[in-house]
Amino acid sequence: MQLLTPELGLFFWQLVTFLLVVFLLTKYAWKPILQGIKKREEEITHALAAAEKAREEMQRISAENEKLLQEARIEKDQILKKAQETARQLVDEAKENAKKEANRMIEDARRIIESEKNAALSEIKAQIATLSVQVAERILKNQLSEEAKQKAYIEELLKDIKLN
């Protein structure tokens, strides 16, 4: 069986060649290739981890943003509400003040009018008294200027007394 007979030459060349192939390929091919693959795999793992981390960070930031926005919205509402309240209060206060002021002014006016009226009345009274005295004086002067008239008046007065 020629097929199953080992050949010395072939064995020798195979031994030499294969050892050479293992040595050379290990040095110049397998080591750089396996290292390259390993390096790349590490890089990929690293990149994936970084991407995951970035995604998480992104999520965290966006959640934070959302929270901040929510807080800002609440604060805005609060400020608006407060402002409205303050405005209303201010208006109310102003209204109140105005009313009071008006009332006070009306009161003052009334008091002044009253006092002015009283003053005017008393003046009028004094005037009237003066006028009445003057009129009475003139009338008396006029009526009692003649003797006959004086006598008549006395008589009249006497008549009244008699009657009483």
């Binding site: 080992p6 030459g9 072939l10 192939v21």
Partner: protein, 374 residues
């Protein structure tokens, strides 16, 4: 698609060439002997026979290197044709030596069988060199693409080869040897895998040598695996062979069995690869020989069709056998470097261990320490 079609056409054309090569080595009046033809094509030769047209044989002469009692003799195989054809074979006189060449076997006239050591660059050796050159070209190129500062996605040849390298690493080395130790054996496994694969594929080319279907080649490869096992075998591996976990009275039976077991593993490796590749070649050659046995062109389409089918199958076998050889090598190496699982198990249950060895606490401690360092 176009290139695939072109390759297929060339392939079919080459198949035809192969056919003619088988058809005409014998003179026409001689009866066609399929067995002889097939074995001629399976075996090694001192010249690389390409094809024959009629009686003109086209072959590449290869260097013949002989170590004889009269010193080293180097000449080209084409010199055989200058020899005299005699009953015993071709008689070739060179200086002090007279060689008798019979069926590619070189003898020295008037000497014993072992007097000539034949270190010729035969067809198989030449084919081996060719495959090695191809390996260097391919992997030299691939390795270059990895020598960049920034890792890149594999492109071109590297993209083709890298999945296979990863396959060897992730499907063969890591499962068979284990995550901590596989890296040391990766160069050997990768070399074996690609060496066998490329030679399997080269062997499928028409007119090519049948390298991985040669028992010397497969036995040498298996021998390398054996050396890997023997040099890397740890205490645990040798312990299993020389102190197997059986009662002592069984040792006289077990130890010889274990020692035989060391050699059956590589033996099986060698025979498996040899038989698979040779069988594939025999099937293809037999199918093509049918044409000449029936002496009819009508058989040709069927023969060629079947041969083509088997050739396709052989492409698969080329990969599978490279894979199987590498996987089994990795498994055997994995067994040789495997740690003792029992001790590891004990190390995980120190309480249990202490309870068992309460009467000998010092011994238990040492054992535990060993387990931890192991």
């Amino acid at each position: 698609m176009k290139s695939i079609k072109a390759i297929l056409l060339i392939f079919i054309a080459l198949l035809g060439l192969q056919l003619s090569a088988y058809a005409n080595p014998q003179p026409e009046e001689e009866e066609f002997n399929a067995g002889e033809t097939i074995f001629h094509h399976l075996s090694n030769s001192h010249e690389w026979h390409l094809f024959s047209i009629g009686d003109t044989h086209v072959s590449i002469p290869l260097p013949v290197i002989l170590y004889t009692p009269n010193g080293l003799d180097v000449f080209l195989s084409s010199e055989f044709h200058h020899g005299k054809v005699t009953e015993e074979g071709i008689m070739l006189e060179r200086g002090k030596n007279t060689y008798i060449i019979e069926h590619d076997h070189i003898k020295l006239a008037g000497h014993e069988e072992a007097a000539v050591y034949d270190f010729s660059i035969t067809k198989n050796v030449a084919s081996m060199f060719l495959s090695v050159v191809l390996l260097f070209i391919i992997f030299g190129k691939v390795a270059k693409s990895y020598q960049t500062d920034k890792p890149q996605a594999p492109k071109g040849l590297a993209g083709l080869v890298e999945p296979v390298i990863l396959f060897v690493r992730d499907e063969i080395a890591v499962p068979a040897i284990g995550k901590d130790k596989y890296e040391r054996f990766m160069p050997y496994l990768l070399t074996v895998f690609f060496y066998i694969w490329i030679n399997n594929l080269l062997g499928l080319l028409p007119g090519a040598a049948n390298l991985t279907g040669n028992i010397t080649i497969t036995a040498t490869l298996a021998g390398f695996t054996l050396m890997m096992i023997l040099f890397n075998g740890n205490k645990n591996y040798w312990g299993h062979i020389f102190a197997p976990p059986v009662p002592t009275w069984l040792y006289p039976i077990m130890i010889p069995i274990e020692i035989v077991g060391i050699f059956t593993k590589p033996f099986a490796l060698a025979i498996r690869l040899f038989a698979n590749i040779t069988a594939g070649h025999i099937v293809i050659l037999s199918l093509l020989s049918l044409i000449f046995i029936f002496k009819s062109f009508a058989v040709a389409p069927i023969s060629v069709g079947f041969a083509l089918f088997i050739n396709g199958l052989e492409l698969l076998v080329a990969f599978i056998q490279a894979f199987v050889f590498t996987l089994l090598s990795a498994l055997f190496i994995g067994q040789a470097v495997e740690e003792h699982h029992h001790e590891e198990h004990e190390a995980h249950h120190p309480a249990h261990e202490e309870a068992n060895h309460a009467e000998k606490p010092a011994q238990a401690e040492i054992k535990e320490e060993v387990a931890v360092t192991a």
